[in-house]
């Protein structure tokens, strides 16, 4: 974490960090609930991921912009307030814009408030950094989450239903269990193991030390 706060770190590094090294789901194992709950099809996963990216970026932006203004003592309550404010906005907008998706993922969008990862980034990064890096950090973390959701939901919808985004792809008996609760856990477990394996093999030796 320490190197990320230094000035010379490029924006690209910030994004890469969010996607790979500190991938919210696969590496940090945070915000797991929606990773399973809304990933039984790609469409839901897409809008959930989008909502998280939006919230993370806006929260990072807001908190970074106010960081000098906020009193240390009421820092955390204010962060919570900012997060729940943005979640409410995204929630209202999604309900209006994509009602059919909202019906299925609405509950989980409201629960973005309780995401440890968003508060953690606000506290650890945005409250200490200038606006532009904070926004990029938000994009990186959000995108990491988004990509993880897309991988999981594509895996589940393809094998569990033989479809992607509702379009039929494979014409074989699907393994229905994958779009059901139990299968969701299996899918995330297996994909997480795969991510660990790939990461250990190709990325961990690349100069990063953990």
């Amino acid at each position: 974490m320490a190197e990320a706060t230094e000035e010379q770190v490029s924006y690209w590094e910030l994004i890469k960090n969010g996607i790979l090294k500190e991938n919210t789901i696969f590496r940090l194992a945070l915000s797991l609930c929606p990773a399973i709950a809304v990933t039984n099809n790609v469409k839901n996963g897409f809008f959930m991921g989008l909502a998280v990216v939006l919230v993370q970026v806006m929260v990072n932006f807001t908190i970074s912009a106010m960081r000098k203004f906020i009193h240390q003592r009421i820092r955390l309550p204010i962060f919570m307030l900012v997060i729940s404010g943005w979640v409410t906005i995204v929630n209202l907008v999604m309900d209006a814009a994509v009602p059919d998706v909202y019906r299925e993922v609405g509950m989980y969008i409201q629960l973005i408030v309780a995401f440890a990862s968003i508060l953690a980034r606000a506290e650890m990064f945005a409250s200490k950094n200038r606006i532009v890096p904070s926004v990029f950090d938000g994009i990186g973390m959000g995108t990491g989450f988004f990509i993880a959701l897309m991988i999981i939901s594509a895996f589940r919808e393809l094998i569990g239903k033989g479809q992607l985004w509702g379009f039929p792809i494979i014409d074989a008996k699907p393994l229905l269990i994958l779009i059901l609760p139990a299968g969701g856990f299996f899918a995330v477990g297996i994909l997480m193991a795969a991510f660990n394996w790939v990461y250990a093999k190709y990325f961990s030796s690349g100069g990063h030390s953990h």
């Binding site: 008996k173 393994l175 229905l176 269990i177 059901l180 139990a182 299968g183 299996f186």
Partner: protein
Amino acid sequence: METVRTPKEQQLIISASPHIRSEETTSRIMWSVSAALLPATIMAAYFFGPKAIFLIALTIVSAVAAEYAYQRAMNKEVTVCDGSAFLTGLLLGLNLPPTVPFYIPIVGSVVAIVLTKQLFGGLGFNVFNPALIGRAFLLISFPKLMTIWAEPTAQFVAMDAKTTATPLGIMKTEGLAKLMEVFGDKVSLYKSLAVGNVAGSLGETSAIAVLVGGIFLLIRGYISWHIPVSFLGSAAVLAWIFGGKGALFTGDPIMHLLSGGLMLGAFFMATDYVTSPSVKKGQLLFGVGCGFLTMLIRLKGGYPEGVMFAILIMNCFTPLIDRSFKSEVFGAVKVKKEAAK
């Protein structure tokens, strides 16, 4: 009986530390249990024909192959000869409906062996009964295919049996009256259930054949009476109290005992050394839990048959049961055990 190990000792060896010393014992148990399933397998072949033999064989072969392939791939010692994969395959095969297409046994075996057993570190560490997880996985993945039941033809050569519902399925959707309509009277219903001349999974229809194997295991000391007796006993009592329509104490325990996978589950799957408690008192609790959950699902739940889920749910609790009963008598285990004999 002095020369035969008591189940208690065998369990301790297997579940606590699978040393090389226990390997011979493990394999002897596995092959003996498989042998005890022979009557049920023969009845399956008799009632459901060549397709039954094909399905059971295919399940066994794919289970053994999955174990072999996994152990080779992970550079582990290959232990397919200990019979555990064979037994898992056999049990899963006996739990399949007679009509399933060929890929179902393969998927089920891979799930049973890899996901349920090997990922946990192999035999002795699995928390859930592999064959039952395989079965549950299949039921949820292929709900239609796994609930098409063929009518037993009782002729080895008959092909294309008619499809029908299982006795428990009829109970669930249409009630006891319809069941009586199909089978005539109670005696002929019991007779069909005992012999196995009803629709159901390959190896579970014939209660007598399963019972013969179970008694063999009991007499030879491979399983102790605690789980089967408490399982069947609690199921029977609950069936009697709550099984009737309207009034209490009007249920039919015999029908419930003989139908579905209750016998097979109570003697062959709930008693699995690795996934059931090792302390006697814990085994009684485990058995009663299985009986309770089976009847809960059969009488109130969504599925017609509850044995599989009941055992799996109790498998979740096994470490907890073991933990609480063991810590209670920690240090005094040996003494108590001697006293209990």
